[in-house]
């Protein structure tokens, strides 16, 4: 088990290196540059040259990248051109809200997805199954940003049950309860698609397992149906579902980009969108690096969870 963790942690390094090179190249090579983003319609060649020089962007690309890596090794992610502050500071400030949102959404999606999936499988072709399957189909087909706007309109503007955006009340707010109220709508929106995917997957996995010989044997031995389903079948079905939860973590982090915009969630996704449009290279680099690290670590965790469920994987 320790070997697996160590090997997977070592793999993080080349993954992040690759991510940083690709992000750096892409944002450097697409048309437009920070000086132009800053100057807008005043972007005369002389002004661009001057601002580019002042930003230290007049050096060749490989040199810029090496300087960046050199600083990174000392824990310095550089300074954002646009926000005029250290990238690390901004990224850390923005990371927690995103992890909170994506994490909550993932937990919601996992619980709802697996529960409903099991119910649908156990009641195959019953009315519960049909209801769940249809709901899931709608869930998968609904664009998240639209669902978000719909929820804002009903629960925020019309019924006034929940705040329409932000992470805490400006006045008299604060505290876990306040944040939780603000978290409900964005987390549900973000969880919807992931939950739908997990329902289908869990249902399929359960149905397959329930047809296996050992399940028939368990039933033949006279075990209760409850014990057959939840102890024998469910645990085996889960082995196939867990890695997909890891993948869904990626979607949750990615989906946070637009959910954060719709709900004004002060997360890293919203930060990245504006950083990309202003070509704030160092901020994009720092943000993507941290998100990629989070993604890799979440997948590591799901691998470990899978290992716990399935002894065969532990020494593989």
């Amino acid at each position: 088990m320790a070997g697996l963790i160590l090997r997977r942690l070592l793999m993080v390094v080349p993954v992040l290196f690759g991510v940083s090179v690709i992000v750096f190249l892409v944002i450097s090579l697409i048309p437009g540059d920070p000086a132009r983003a800053i100057l807008g319609t005043f972007a005369t060649p002389a002004n661009i040259a001057e601002v580019t020089r002042q930003l230290g962007l007049d050096r060749p690309l490989p040199v810029q990248y090496i300087i960046w890596v050199g600083k990174l090794l000392h824990g310095d992610l550089g300074r954002s051109y646009i926000l005029h502050k250290p990238v690390a500071e901004e990224v850390m400030e923005r990371l927690m809200p995103t992890l909170l949102l994506a994490g909550t959404a993932l937990v919601l999606a996992s619980i709802a997805g697996i529960l409903l999936g099991v119910v649908a499988a156990v009641r195959q072709n019953g009315w519960q199954d049909k209801l769940i399957t249809v709901t899931v189909l709608i869930g998968i087909s609904t664009p998240s940003f639209w669902l978000g706007m719909l929820l804002i309109f009903w629960f925020g503007v019309r019924l006034e049950w929940l705040p329409v955006g932000g992470m805490r009340e400006l006045f008299g707010g604060g505290g876990a309860l306040d944040t939780a109220r603000h978290l409900v709508l964005p987390a549900v929106t973000l969880a919807a698609v992931a939950a739908a995917v997990l329902v289908r997957l869990t249902r399929g996995a359960m149905l397959e397992v329930l047809r296996q010989d050992y399940v028939r044997t368990a039933r033949a031995k006279g075990l209760t149906e409850r014990r057959v389903i939840y102890v024998h079948a469910f645990r085996n079905a889960l082995v196939g579902v867990i890695p997909v939860i890891g993948l869904q973590a990626g979607f949750a982090l990615g989906g946070a980009v637009y959910i954060e915009t719709v709900f004004q969630w002060p997360g890293i996704g919203r930060m990245l969108v504006s950083a990309i449009s202003t070509r704030d290279i160092l901020l994009v680099q720092g943000g993507v690096l941290v998100v990629a690290t989070a993604y890799v670590l979440i997948n590591l965790l799901t691998d470990l969870a899978q290992g716990l469920l399935d002894p065969r994987l532990r020494d593989a």
Partner: protein, 523 residues
Amino acid sequence: MKDVVVTRRALLAGVAAISAAGLPRAGHAETPKDVLVVGHVAELQTLDPAQAVTISDFRILCNIYDSLLHYKDGSLDVEPGLAESWTISPDGKTYTFALRQGVKFHDGTPFDADAVKFNFDRVIDPNHPYHNTGPFPFVFTLGPIDKIEVTGPHTVVMQLKEPYAPALTMLAGAIGGLAGISPTAVKTYGKDFSRHGGGTGPFKLVEWVSGQRFVLAANKEYWRGAPKLDGLVFRPIVDENARVSEMLSGGTDITIEVPPDNIATFTASKNFIYYQQPGPHLWYLVLNTKTKPFNDQRVRQAANYAINKEALVNDVLKGTANVANGPTPPAFTWAHDDALRPYPYDPAKAKQLLAEAGYPNGIDVTFYVTESGSGMLSPVLMGTAIQADLEAVGIRAKIETYEWNTFLGKIIPALPADVAVAELSFMTQDPDMHPALALRTGAAVNSGGFSDPKVDALIDAGRAETDPVKRAAIYKQLQDLVHDDAPWVFIANWKQNAVSSARVKGFELHPSFTTRFYATSKT
């Protein structure tokens, strides 16, 4: 910093007491009295007016910093600010300012001539110890400043390398706020000054939480008297639908830039006040005057006749803009030629001009459209509507759409030879700026390659003339000439809009497109 902490506690704790008694189950607790919550279009980027580049930043900064000069309420005319009076030498190169006495920065240090010199030297002298707190991308708009001299404790002289009449309006504008920065704050924070700030203005910084809120408190010692509000909170709400939702649910008291489609929702209700204000903005089409077909003035005029500008501002922009009559926006009341008529919508005349120019069967052109961009007002919808109008007279435009940053890179400094038309908009604070940058022969952003020696001479004359009356006459001549030359298709002048709750009193939008909350109150 100590007083700042106390202020924040006082502000937020007082507010907490009020809202604790409020409605914890409602979507939002009602915002408290005397604290105005603003739905702001973007994240604040910097607290340093010398570094700021976006109008959304300046909307906040103009409440924290004073300039040497100030725009009067409701106009772009200049009145005294931190400078009580000023004189300009006959050669237009020496400006002498008598500074207001007894003014203090938020940190308690006095505002004086040394402070003004420090602030200008920081941005114009590459060897200044705090020049590395830059870059200062828009300082060039203040003019070719040679040096700043202190001639008395409250007198400074600004020496220009050459005459630059726009200096006064630019000093009164948002970038002019750099004159009112506290040198002590710059020295204390260095590069991080941009995150702390410090001026003499009616409001001062309390806290700045990235992505969530930017909180200001009243400067009770303000030299014009304390502002009416106790606090000012800007919430960055980038998504325009989210801004509308927050406004409807009571999460904000005022929202700047309401999407055209949502205006009716607010104007129909007694609970809201709707504001609009034309500004120094022009939305236009750049025509490539260097190559066929727009190297012919008749074809350029044909394009101006072909487009139904009334329909664009009323149907596409839902009345959030007026039809433009020429290159100079009407917001420059003193320089605008009110007698100049916009090109009427006349497709028959357009066809006739095209035929006269030798294109009886029409022409095929490439038309650059941007997806978004500062001041670009629904550019894709506008582009499509314009395409249809042009098609109707035989100008068959093939649209190519680009992301804003990419778009700018493609059209500046010049349109590619095979591209005939591009959308563009421009916002400025002096009628000199746009023609000088975009119409003068060989100018840096003269994308259409336009050249007319008479236009060049008028631009130069306007820049050198310090007498406002004579200067106005020059710009009126310039407008008539450019209108006739038609290097651009003049489309629209944007009206900035805002909506507030009925609890907000005394707020007015300003033609500079900044938001000044000094006189605003809230019940």
